[in-house]
């Protein structure tokens, strides 16, 4: 037991000796958590818009008024022709050009129909759909107003209607920060501890200090555990600070039990640390270790469900998320914090992460060879 304590002590001394790393482990992740949670929103607001008004009638002015009143759009320009509108799209100055054709009002009253064109920059498909969707609904309500002025007898309906009411549980205001902050926190902690451990053993090997440890009577598992505990503690401290920051700044709800959250974090960190040490044992140079880790981390992040729901991935990709610690982490954080899920509800994630933790650590112990 004393041996274990010594190696833990040694690791801590080494971590705190590197002054350049301290801010990277403490302040930088918290700042990122705050900044990125603000950035990561799929809301579509401030869409830049240009209107080509070829009609210049009362009707077209009414429509423009309605669009101006909507706070999702910023009216940038009134180009004189469709070509000029195209030009603005091409230069990226606007996202949508709305075209009111000549004789719009006349055709509306004479021929009882009307047409309005939207030219949309669709490189980002989702934004294009959402943005033009908002605009279409403004045009619909404008249309209804015009029809109301005509005092059309409402279409006699013996037609039955289905009305819908919809409610958003757990996050009624659709607050993106509630959704992103726990996930980003998990991601940051995982990157940090995985890299720290992955570089750890291989660094000793590169510098040559591993020989000095190899000649001591330390057991393999003691070595791995001794390497793990300090980083586990660092990870937990960072998580605690991050959660506190998220609570204070974004006021994210904590509906479930914090015991479950922390129990899961410990298990998850153990899995991640085991993987990091395993990579470290297999690598010849720090550079190799870093790139291997980095490769895993970026795939873990993108396939974690942090940005896009796992449900929409193809089936084979969904299976690939099972050995992905970040995916479990994100899911558990969101369920427990936002929905108040209990241990029973998330037991699946505990099981999978537990299996990973055991597996990775066995691999880590196995791959550590005392003979260099």
């Amino acid at each position: 037991m004393r041996r274990l304590a010594y190696i833990i002590q040694k690791e801590f001394i080494q971590v705190f000796r590197n002054k350049a790393m301290l801010p990277i482990m403490t302040i930088v992740p918290i700042v990122q958590l705050i900044v990125l949670s603000y950035a990561a929103s799929n809301e579509v607001t401030n869409v830049r818009l240009a209107i080509v008004n070829q009609d210049q009638s009362a009707a077209s002015r009414l429509l423009i008024q309605k669009v101006e009143a909507a706070d999702r759009f910023i009216l940038m320009d009134f180009p004189l022709s469709v070509e000029e509108g195209d030009e603005l799209l091409q230069r990226g100055e606007v996202g949508i050009v709305l075209v009111i054709p000549a004789q719009f009002e006349r055709t509306f009253y004479r021929e009882k129909r009307g047409e309005i064109q939207l030219l949309v920059n669709a490189i980002d498909g989702q934004q294009a759909t959402v943005g033009s969707g908002y605009l279409s609904s403004i045009i619909q309500s404008f249309n209804q107003e015009m029809r109301a002025e005509l005092r059309l007898v409402p279409m006699q309906s013996n037609q039955a209607q289905i009305l819908t009411t919809s409610s958003n549980w757990y996050n009624p205001d659709l607050n993106f920060k509630y959704f992103m902050a726990p996930g980003i926190l998990g991601e940051l902690v995982t990157i940090l501890v995985m890299l720290l451990t992955a570089m750890n053993v291989v660094r000793e090997r590169e510098i040559g200090t591993i020989e000095q440890i190899n000649v001591t009577p330390i057991k393999k598992w003691q070595f791995i555990l001794g390497k793990m505990v300090p980083f586990l503690i660092i990870g937990l401290v960072l998580l605690t600070v991050g959660l506190t920051a998220a609570k204070l700044i974004f006021n994210i709800p904590i509906r479930g039990s914090l015991v479950v959250v922390f129990a899961f974090c410990i298990l998850n960190l153990m899995a991640v640390l085991g993987l990091g040490l395993f990579i470290s044992n297999l690598s010849d140079t720090q550079q190799q270790a870093m790139f291997t880790t980095f490769f895993f981390v970026i795939i873990f992040i993108l396939m974690s469900g942090l940005f896009t729901p796992i449900e929409s991935m193809p089936k084979w990709a969904q299976y690939l998320t099972i050995p992905n610690p970040i995916a479990h982490f994100v899911s558990v954080m969101r369920s427990v914090l936002l929905k108040g899920s209990t241990f029973q509800d998330v037991i699946y994630h505990f099981r999978m992460t537990g299996i990973m933790a055991i597996l990775f650590n066995i691999l880590a112990i196995w791959s550590y060879r005392k003979v260099a």
Binding site: N42, G95, L118, A160, I162, L174, L195, S312
Partner: protein, 369 residues
């Protein structure tokens, strides 16, 4: 000059000898393109729905069939009450709940107005909105089908939407430029900062500095192979995008590649700057990862729209090189734009390059002295 090439050759040997890093360097862009192409998508199918069917009559059965026939929704549970629905939400089984009231068919046929309640698990706000919108559409089409509604009423204004540059709304048009920006930034900056930090850590930097080669050439020699590697990576992504996902290059290819090089130099300069600051590889790696990876992913407009961000972040995004490079790529690849359209972002990148190089050079001198 001969010594310089000898030096470059030494670096290339170093890289080639480390097979695993090399494999990752080339495997990464391929993996990223495949992940973005096949898994990171906002389209949805088989979304899990739980239906609380309190009516349990013919009409409600027909409705459920209509809802699930689209292939977008998958019925995963039939809870009896709203409490049970909540349980399925908490266990992450369902993302959308549909409550059909007991008097559904009576309301529909006699009262001419029935109400269906949609309850979304809004922990994922965007997904929730998408599901609710789609369910609404399905309900409307069910209603039309039941009523055999006629088409357009008079005095209605039709909206004709034309999607420019990407009429099929392919996600690839957005992620291929983004991936190139991300890969170039990460590999180039990280590799550069690491290779120099490594020489420092092992103490061989001093050895190099006392060699007859001027320090400028030493640095150049160290970064050249990585620049070439990253450039090849960028081309791999473009080629994969073109053949697997049909992402075109509508503008001039030489222009695109030239500007690609410019961006690559900016990334190199960033890497140099980091390496002059970092004393060892670990610090260099952490600094590049934390200051480059997430900001490039999240603040460049690649994953999330910049105009929707808070004002401060919009200002921060102005110093992210990837933002300008993505603008350039989109303009040249998708909008077939020429020189004039990319002049501004090119200018910004050039200024960034000069500033970063100057800062790196200043730091380097301080370190040397």
């Amino acid at each position: 000059m001969k010594i310089f090439w000898a030096f470059v050759r030494k670096e290339i040997y170093h890289i080639l000898r480390d097979r695993r890093t090399l494999a990752i360097l080339f495997g990464m862009p391929i993996a990223l393109v495949l992940i973005f192409g096949y898994t990171v998508t906002n389209e949805f199918k088989d979304a899990s729905v739980a239906i609380v069917n309190q009516a349990n009559d013919e009409l409600s059965q027909e409705f459920i069939e209509h809802l699930t026939s689209s292939g977008h929704f998958q019925l995963v549970a039939l809870p009896q009450t709203r409490d049970e629905l909540e349980t399925t939400f908490r266990a992450n089984q369902a993302k959308l709940g549909v409550v059909i009231p007991p008097s559904f068919s009576d309301d529909f046929y006699r009262q001419k107005a029935a109400t269906i309640q949609l309850i979304a698990d809004a922990t994922e706000p965007n997904y929730a909105t998408t599901l609710v919108n789609y369910a609404n559409q399905m309900i409307r089409s069910f209603q039309q089908q039941k009523n055999q509604m006629s088409e357009q009423a008079p005095y209605s204004v039709a909206v004709q939407t034309r999607m420019y540059y990407n009429p099929q709304l392919e996600g690839a048009y957005n992620f291929v430029p983004g991936t190139v920006a991300l890969i170039l930034m990460l590999i180039c900056a990280m590799m550069t900062s690491l290779t120099i930090a490594k020489e420092k850590e092992l103490g061989t930097m001093d050895l190099l500095l006392v060699s007859p080669l001027p320090p400028m050439l030493i640095i150049l020699g160290k970064v050249t192979p990585y620049a070439v590697l990253s450039f090849i990576d960028a081309i791999i992504v473009f080629v994969l995008g073109y053949f697997l996902f049909d992402v075109p290059v509508r503008g001039s290819v030489p222009l695109l590649l030239a500007l690609c090089l410019l961006y690559l130099f900016v990334a190199l300069a960033l890497g140099l700057l980091i390496s002059t600051k970092a004393a060892n590889q670990q610090t260099a790696m952490m600094t590049s990862l934390f200051t480059l990876m997430l900001p490039t992913m999240l603040l460049s407009g690649f994953l999330f729209p910049i105009p929707s961000m808070p004002t401060i972040l919009q200002y921060i995004s102005k110093v992210i090189p990837a933002k300008y490079f993505i603008q350039i790529e989109q303009a040249v690849m998708l909008k077939a734009a020429g020189w004039e359209a990319v002049a501004f972002p090119t200018l910004v990148l050039t200024i960034m390059l000069v500033v970063l190089l100057a800062a790196a050079w200043k730091n380097f001198k301080v370190v040397k002295a």
